[in-house]
């Protein structure tokens, strides 16, 4: 294991965290909700891939498309069923509902698929590249490229399009946005769709790297991605990417120096330190509280 390989591993893991963190950041930015179910949407995405490829024997391309579309649909459904009735409710109720949804998805998956891990087949049969005698995994490169492209597209969507403008307006002031003729509920649903589609992409990339699906895989992945989003500054797209990469690198290097059993602890310690020193994260804007 050379240093370069470790860097690449860190980038790959960090990219997955970054993609998931983007979903957290978008949802948090618009309705100030820590969407606990986000990690479990990834889990569902991985199971969709497994069903399509392993059980139905269909093509990997279809599996990827269905995973992404399925996740986006699930995200919208969750918003409509569980979060929309609580738009005006206190934040606490919304947060507990999100925990409920997460709990439901995990236990539902356990009931339907069983607690054992399902093996997701390889999407593509790619050879490993070799640059200057250093083996580079093709999966890692695909993961990094896909994440970079997704981030750029998302930035364009949020900054340049009319829908993106609506999303920013709703996140700034929901009431004022409504008065300006923006359909708030549709905009929120759209945000959930985009965020969950990113989770779907994350699910595919995760399955590529670890090729398995378990009912509880979303908890740790989701929590760490949320840590990444908070580290970078929640609500900020570049922040989510920076946070994701930071968490990914931290984990890979802690394992590399032989302390892999402590890697979860290190990630959370990193979070605690950042939150204590800079409560709004690395790129987050300081918030003032109105009375």
């Amino acid at each position: 294991m050379t240093f370069l390989t470790q860097v690449l591993n860190g980038l790959q893991l960090g990219s997955i965290y970054a993609l998931v963190a983007l979903g957290y950041t978008m949802v948090y930015g618009i309705i100030l909700l820590l969407n606990f179910a986000h990690g479990d949407i990834i889990m569902v995405g991985a199971y969709i891939s497994w069903i399509v490829m392993s059980q139905l024997g269909l093509s990997p391309a279809l599996a990827i498309v269905l995973s992404i579309v399925g996740c986006a649909g699930l995200g919208v459904l969750i918003d409509k069923v569980a979060y929309q009735p609580l738009r005006e409710a206190p934040r606490m109720s919304l947060l507990i509902t999100a925990i409920g949804v997460s709990y439901f998805l995990e236990n539902g998956a356990q009931l339907v698929f069983g607690a054992d891990a399902k093996v997701v087949p390889e999407y593509f049969d790619l050879p490993n590249l070799s640059v200057g005698g250093v083996g580079l995994s093709a999966n890692a490169i695909i993961t990094i490229v896909v994440t970079a492209v997704s981030t750029v597209l998302l930035t364009i969507l949020v900054q340049k399009t009319k829908l993106g403008k609506a999303m920013r307006a709703v996140s700034e002031d929901m009431g004022a946005a409504r008065l300006m003729g923006i359909n708030v509920n549709n905009t929120i649903s759209f945000t959930f769709a985009v965020g969950s589609a990113l989770a779907g992409i994350g699910a595919v990339l995760y399955s590529m790297a670890y090729s398995q699906a378990t009912p509880t895989m979303g908890i740790m992945l989701g929590t760490k991605a949320f840590v990444a989003a908070v580290l970078g500054g929640i609500g900020s797209i570049p922040g989510a990417v920076i946070g994701g990469l930071l968490v990914g690198f931290a984990e890979v290097f802690v394992s590399a120096i032989g302390l892999s059993v402590w890697q979860d602890a290190v990630v959370f310690l990193l979070l605690i330190i950042v939150l204590v020193v800079r409560p709004t994260g690395i790129l987050g804007r300081p918030m003032t509280e109105k009375v």
Partner: protein
């Protein structure tokens, strides 16, 4: 307002006229008698073999979950924060209590059998162990609370979740760092003597509930409630929000540690994997379902949710899914929980009975009656002021009354 009530006021009973209330010693006596009756009946049923050994174990677990739910309620229902690491405090308490008792057994000359027969030394060791467990958890609560309570809402939730994970990882791997066996690593701590029984669980539950109840009724408790209702307003009224938030958090951790200590003795094995995120959520579900801020709600839902899975063994696969659906439905249709912040009070019930079903607010408050008396004298002079005084004063009184119940 009738004339008879106005006359009763002139007789001069304090605060509310004609309302017969119980004195504080009387209230404590009534509650103490009820507790003792409950305890004696329980003991007799267990000794007489009416309740099986397995059922006794379930009853002990109910007691443990009652303490857990009520202690989480301090942070969730009374302080208005959402910590997701309660299982972490529980595991710290459990491990430290179990390790303390196991290490001290030789020093104090207590054998595992003594816990069953109940020698004074064993009882003393149990008390020391439980308090030690509580204190270790409270110290962890302090370490976590100081940075965590600077944050709000979701940040606090995630940071406590993170701390609980750190605790779990530490419990799992600390042996390798220390170089000797302390927690037993991932395999868990085994061979814990069964020091938990119905009698001491019951006593610990009663003491915990009593302490939490009296704390919440004291000025400290009111300060904590004021932070929940409006932190900025509380701070501007001179409530030291940092101090009271930390106090509530540490108290919550302390009792979780106490419950953890009982749990270790009840189950006999401590494994880090048991105290993950899921356990914290399980406790949170109890609090939320029962009603955030209601002690009775926590007690009832902890009892029901501990018994249900034992009764419904056949459908235990569906249990978690049903929990989740119930949690979502409760949040959508009844966000304040099944009981809201209602709390049952025996003394209040007895007062209702001796007052023939009337509540304090049904009686004429002294201030209102005084205004009424004054008003009837000055009826001709200022009729508008009179009506204002009559309608407003009782309203204020009942408003205050409603507030104290919250």
């Amino acid at each position: 307002m009738t004339a008879s009530k106005a006359t009763a006021t002139q007789a001069g009973t304090p605060a509310v006229s004609g309302y017969r209330s119980l004195s504080m010693p009387m209230r404590y006596l009534i509650n103490a008698v009820l507790v003792v009756i409950f305890l004696v009946v329980g003991e007799l049923m267990i000794d007489g073999g009416v309740v099986s050994r397995y059922q006794t174990g379930v009853i002990e677990q109910i007691g443990i979950y009652i303490i857990l739910a009520v202690s989480l309620n301090i942070a969730t229902g009374y302080l208005g924060q959402l910590p997701l690491g309660h299982a972490g405090f529980m595991s710290v308490g459990g491990y430290s209590c179990a390790i303390f008792i196991m290490r001290m057994m030789d020093t104090m000359g207590v054998t595992a059998r003594d816990f069953a027969t109940g020698t004074p030394a064993a009882a003393g060791l149990f008390v020391l162990g439980i308090i030690f467990g509580g204190f270790c958890a409270a110290i962890c609560g302090l370490i976590i609370g100081v940075p965590a309570l600077r944050l709000k809402g979701d940040y606090l939730a995630i940071i406590t979740l993170g701390f609980a994970e750190i605790i779990r990882v530490v419990m799992q791997n600390i042996d390798g760092v220390l170089g000797f066996t302390l927690t037993g690593g991932a395999k868990g701590l085994t061979g814990i003597p069964g020091y938990t029984n119905f009698l001491n669980t019951f006593i610990v539950v009663v003491i915990s509930l009593f302490l939490i109840h009296t704390m919440m009724k004291s000025r400290h408790g009111r300060a904590i409630l004021s932070i929940r209702d409006n932190e900025i307003a509380a701070e501007s009224c001179g409530v030291s929000t940092t101090y009271y938030k930390t106090l509530a958090f540490v108290a919550s951790a302390f009792f979780a540690g106490v419950a953890g200590g009982l749990y270790a003795g009840c189950i006999g094995v401590m494994a880090p994997a048991k105290f993950g995120f899921m356990k914290s959520i399980e406790i949170l579900v109890m609090v939320v379902l029962g009603g955030m801020g209601s002690m009775l709600g926590s007690v009832i839902s902890a009892t029901v949710l501990t018994i249900l899975p034992e009764v419904l063994r056949a459908v235990s696969d569906y249990r978690m899914v049903v929990y989740a659906v119930v949690l979502i439905l409760v949040m959508i249709f009844r966000p304040e929980g099944l009981l809201g912040d209602y709390d049952f009070s025996t003394s209040r019930l007895i007062e209702r009975i001796i007052n023939h079903g009337k509540r304090p607010e049904d009686f004429v408050p002294v201030a209102a009656a005084a205004v009424e008396g004054a008003a009837s004298d000055a009826k001709a002079a200022a009729p508008t002021a009179t009506t204002g005084g009559q309608t407003e004063t009782p309203g204020k009184e009942s408003g205050k009354e409603a507030h104290t119940h919250e």
